[in-house]
Amino acid sequence: MFRRIGRAFKEAWWGIRHHRAMVFSTVVTISITLAILSILGVLIANINQITYDIEEEIQVFVKIDNDVEEKDIEELQLKVSRISGVAGVVYSDADSELTYFIEQYGESGSIFEIYRDDNPLSRAFIVSVSTGFSISEVSKQIGTLDGIAEVNFGGFAIENFICLLGGIRKAGLVLALAIIPLAIYLIYNTIKITIHSRREEIGIMRLVGATNSYIRIPLVLEGIFIGIIGAILPCVGTVFGYQYFYEQMNGQLISGILKLVDVFPFTLYVSAILLAVGVFVGLIGSWWSATRSLRWKR
């Protein structure tokens, strides 16, 4: 058993040594593929975090009609909270609205205290929207209810920004999924060359009754090795590259509003994924190659 594993490793290593040029170019391409994947991964994870943070922060300010009687407020609040996408509704009466208003003006705000008895401000609901729901859509829904005077949210700018981030995320995923088959195909070709240069040996193995798995295992191992070798640089690059970037940016984007994902354990997760993709690509590519060239004959 150990001898068999030893042999498989030896032969896989032989294949790698004997087609250094081909293996090298495949390793480089796998590395580039995984590097792109890593960048996409970092991008997507940060976009996720940023989108989440923004959506957490955003609140919709819903002004209540002055005609709505005090006793109906509770029912209206219930109606608002039933709208899909509404995560929470907080009622704020005119009095607290004024307090909030005055607070916002700081020192000089106190002059507005004169309005305390004849308050021109409306009562309002502060609505938070669940992540994943369109803020403008939810706002529009709220606006259709009777007894709502006005609905305000951060504006379309924020929503467009979130939408843009979502678009980038999708494009990244598509790109990532598109380059993986390419990497598999490259491994497929490399292993095909190994098989070709060993065709005499493989032919004799078949002639004397070596099992198909016996012939296949070293070939598949070779593919996996190439995948792992190709993953080393992107993994190291991800850990140190992202750390460098994070430090340069002080862990934030655009004057501290948006926080970057922490370096650890995030980069380790990304590295693990890259390694797994490397192994997967090597396994599938070489398995495919070995199966195709062993199947043509009994």
């Binding site: 001898r3 068999r4 005499e200 032919g203 004799i204 009754g209 009994r298």
Partner: protein, 227 residues
């Protein structure tokens, strides 16, 4: 025992290689198969080692229905029959010893078994002194003996040779046939496909003449065949 019952082989491209072919070979026989180019000799061998499947009929080798073997079982079946094909020569980067050992290593024999059996085989093919030579350092006849040694390494009950004397001069051909006779004496069934009528005439054995995928004559005395 080898039995072919009404075997036909039609290749995918429509070529009829064997036609309602029936044949019986007993254990321990030595049989020549001769015939012109394209008469179906190699096809017969490929049916016997499971590389091709009969279009019709049955191929039974020691009770195994070879055409019905599942894909995964073919390798195990092949361990029990030795085949010498001209397409599969020696590996140039391995010594005589390692070339023969290779056939045993790839079917997971232990190191000890391999060493013991390779030594025996080297005695049989009379190349014990050349065990450490590389194929290029050997004569054509010696190389062919190593190829035969590799084929019998796993002690097959049947040894099939396609043109074993193909590229050899008469002196070396004689050497090969004498080696095959020696292997035959130890009980192994020998099937030799050949174009070498001189050989067939000199070392008379049961001789089967093929033409166009059918048996034209099957002479247990052998010899005196002029096509």
């Amino acid at each position: 025992m080898i039995v072919l019952e009404n075997v036909s082989k039609i290749y995918k491209n429509g070529t009829k290689a064997l036609n309602d072919f029936s044949l019986e070979i007993q254990d321990g026989e030595f049989v020549y198969i001769i015939g012109e180019t394209g008469s179906g000799k190699s096809t017969l061998i490929k049916l016997l080692n499971g590389e091709e499947i009969p279009t019709k009929g049955r191929v039974l080798v020691n009770g195994t229905n070879v055409g019905r073997l599942r894909f995964g079982k073919v390798p195990l079946y092949r361990r029990k029959i030795g085949v010498v094909f001209q397409d599969y020569q020696l590996l140039k980067n391995k010594t005589v010893f390692d070339n023969i050992a290779f056939a045993l290593e790839v079917i997971n024999k232990s190191k000890e078994e391999v060493r013991k059996r390779v030594k025996e085989v080297l005695e049989i093919i009379d190349l014990a002194n050349e065990f450490n030579s590389y194929p290029t350092e050997l004569s054509g006849g010696q190389q062919q003996r190593v190829v035969i040694g590799r084929a019998i390494a796993n002690n097959p009950s049947i040894l099939i040779c396609d043109e074993p004397t193909g590229n050899l001069d008469p002196r070396h051909s004689k050497e090969i046939i004498e080696l095959l006779e020696k292997i035959n004496r130890s009980g192994t069934t020998i099937i030799v496909v050949t174009h070498d009528y001189v050989l067939v005439d000199t070392y008379k054995k049961r001789t089967i003449l093929l033409d166009n995928g059918s048996i034209v004559s099957d002479d247990s005395e052998g010899g005196y065949i002029h096509v």
